[in-house]
């Protein structure tokens, strides 16, 4: 059994909570002045999608879910499910949309990624660190903001909205960090 110190739990981990695999969606570290340091964890069940909160002492051991990774390609979206395919064996995997909401905006056709499996069920996806996306909608005029780095919100080919520098125009391609959704650069 592999376990993690509760103080080191981070968003995106798959852990065993009440004997079932859960995805960590949020963590909050708290050390009350006169008490014990604790880690408040928000979970999403990979079986039901239900959200639940639990608080651990930071030095507790929490079991890590034995998740297996297989390289697959994104195929298409079908209703509430996202379909991936193994390009060698043509095996397919369906993942409920609710489990990968944060990643859906990066899925462009044939994107190679790692599909995560827990006991023969596809439960999530691990993306490449960054993905190139085409801007399809962008406001032309944005009031200059001299204080902060000038940025604007644009829509990319997958429908997701991201912040990019104001010089980016519709039709251009941008490199976006898949963890933070940050703009990394323009792709020529």
């Amino acid at each position: 059994m592999i376990s993690v110190n509760a103080g080191n739990i981070t968003k995106g981990m798959y852990l065993i909570f009440k004997d079932k695999p859960h995805l960590v969606t949020k963590t909050e570290f708290m050390s009350p002045g006169k008490g014990s340091a604790v880690m408040r964890v928000k979970y999403k069940s990979v079986e039901t999608g239900a959200a639940i909160e639990f608080t651990y002492k930071t030095n507790e051991q929490v079991e890590v879910a034995d998740v297996e990774k297989r390289e697959m390609e994104f195929l298409y979206r079908s209703g509430d499910e996202i379909v991936f395919m193994n390009s060698k064996t043509y095996d397919q995997a369906n993942i409920p949309m609710s489990l990968i909401e944060d990643q859906v905006g990066f899925l462009i056709p044939n994107l190679k990624c790692w599909v995560l499996w827990y006991k023969d069920a596809a439960i999530g996806v691990s993306l490449p660190p960054n993905v190139t996306l085409k801007v399809i909608e962008s406001p032309n005029e944005v009031a200059g903001n001299r204080i902060n780095a000038p940025k604007k919100l644009v829509k990319v080919e997958t429908g997701m909205e991201v912040m990019v520098p104001i010089f980016i125009k519709t039709g251009e391609k941008v490199l976006i960090d898949t963890t933070t959704k940050e703009y990394l650069g323009r792709v020529k």
Binding site: E28, G33, K34, V38, Y56, I147, N148
Partner: protein, 320 residues
């Protein structure tokens, strides 16, 4: 956009920020009327409070003659206050700043925060509960608190529940049967969520002795300590002790806490022997409380987070 820029654009926002000024004024008036002395103690000290789980801000003091000393920002002004109690200052209060490092910056936490502490001599934690009720009612100005769409009934006396009762009521467990390492798990997952839901303020008191910190054991029941926390509108506002005045016991707790700090890789520093000295010389029986002013202001201003009441919140200053 920074807060000052947003205010410039929309001066109506100032209303929320000015609540702090009123709250501070009310606090001063309240304690002056009760005959308390307002004291002013350092925020930069050679030895900070020993909290096993808190990390400190450390700096260095250097004189023109090349003397170098370790210096820390306080995580609480409590030691200075107890030295003053020993000195014979009597009932006292202070409005000051405190600092905690390596914390999550969140709705209720920021690394630099404002704190109110007050101490009553010849008093215990029950007296401080009454002080707290009276002060809070003065701050809100009426017996109902409207906060984020909910209404909280502030009529005195506020409900008081012991840890023993709370664990039985909410976790259906006898507190004596809970192992030390499971205490916080049960508290945070079963007891506190219920406490935070109530539409009445509530005092949770009589901590198990393992969580006594700077509180004295109960005379009739030494398995518990005279300590309480107070919650209003789902927010923990203060932590109170009937102060431990037994220097030997305090020294022993400090040694344990320092060992715990070391084992967790926290900044190492010595025990404040001056504080132990003050206890040795005789600190009068007293009770004191630390209250988060930013949280008080947040509730009084009906603001969703503490940062919404601070002109220069840490998350904005440091881009966190």
């Amino acid at each position: 956009m920074k807060t000052w820029q947003r205010i410039k654009k929309d001066p109506k926002l100032l209303k929320t920020y000015f609540v702090r000024e009123k709250v501070i004024q009310t606090i001063r008036k309240f304690f002056k009327k009760e005959g308390f002395h307002e004291v002013f103690t350092p925020i930069m000290v050679p030895v900070p409070s020993i909290e096993p789980n808190l990390e400190v801000f450390e700096t260095e003091l250097r004189t023109s003659k090349g003397v170098r000393k370790r210096a820390f920002l306080i995580s609480s002004p409590e030691y200075a206050h107890k030295k003053l109690l020993s000195a014979g200052v009597g009932n006292l209060f202070e409005i000051t700043r405190s600092f905690r490092n390596e914390e999550e910056v969140s709705r209720l936490h920021s690394p630099e925060f404002s704190v109110l502490e007050w101490y009553r001599v010849n008093a215990d934690y029950m007296d401080i509960m009454q002080d707290f009720e009276d002060l809070f009612l003065k701050i809100v100005g009426k017996e109902k608190l409207r906060y984020q769409g909910e209404v909280y009934d502030l009529k005195k006396p506020w409900p008081r529940i012991t840890f023993k009762e709370a664990f039985k009521k909410y976790a259906h467990k006898a507190i004596e049967d809970i192992k030390d390492e499971d205490f916080y798990k049960t508290l945070f997952n079963e007891v506190e969520p219920e406490i935070l839901k109530t539409k009445r303020p509530i005092f949770l008191y009589d901590y198990p002795i393992s969580q006594a910190s700077l509180a004295r054991p109960k005379k009739q029941d030494p398995g518990f300590a005279e300590r309480f926390e107070v919650f209003v509108a789902g927010v923990e506002l203060g932590n109170c002790f009937s102060e431990l005045t037994d220097w030997k016991l305090q020294h022993e707790r400090f040694r344990k806490d320092l060992a715990l700090r070391k084992s967790q890789g926290k900044t190492d520093f010595p025990i404040d022997e001056d504080f132990i000295e003050a206890l040795k010389e005789g600190m009068p029986a007293s009770s004191g409380i630390a209250v988060g002013i930013d949280r008080l202001v947040m509730l009084a201003a009906d603001a969703p987070t503490v940062s919404d009441t601070i002109f220069f919140p840490d998350n904005e200053l440091f881009d966190l």
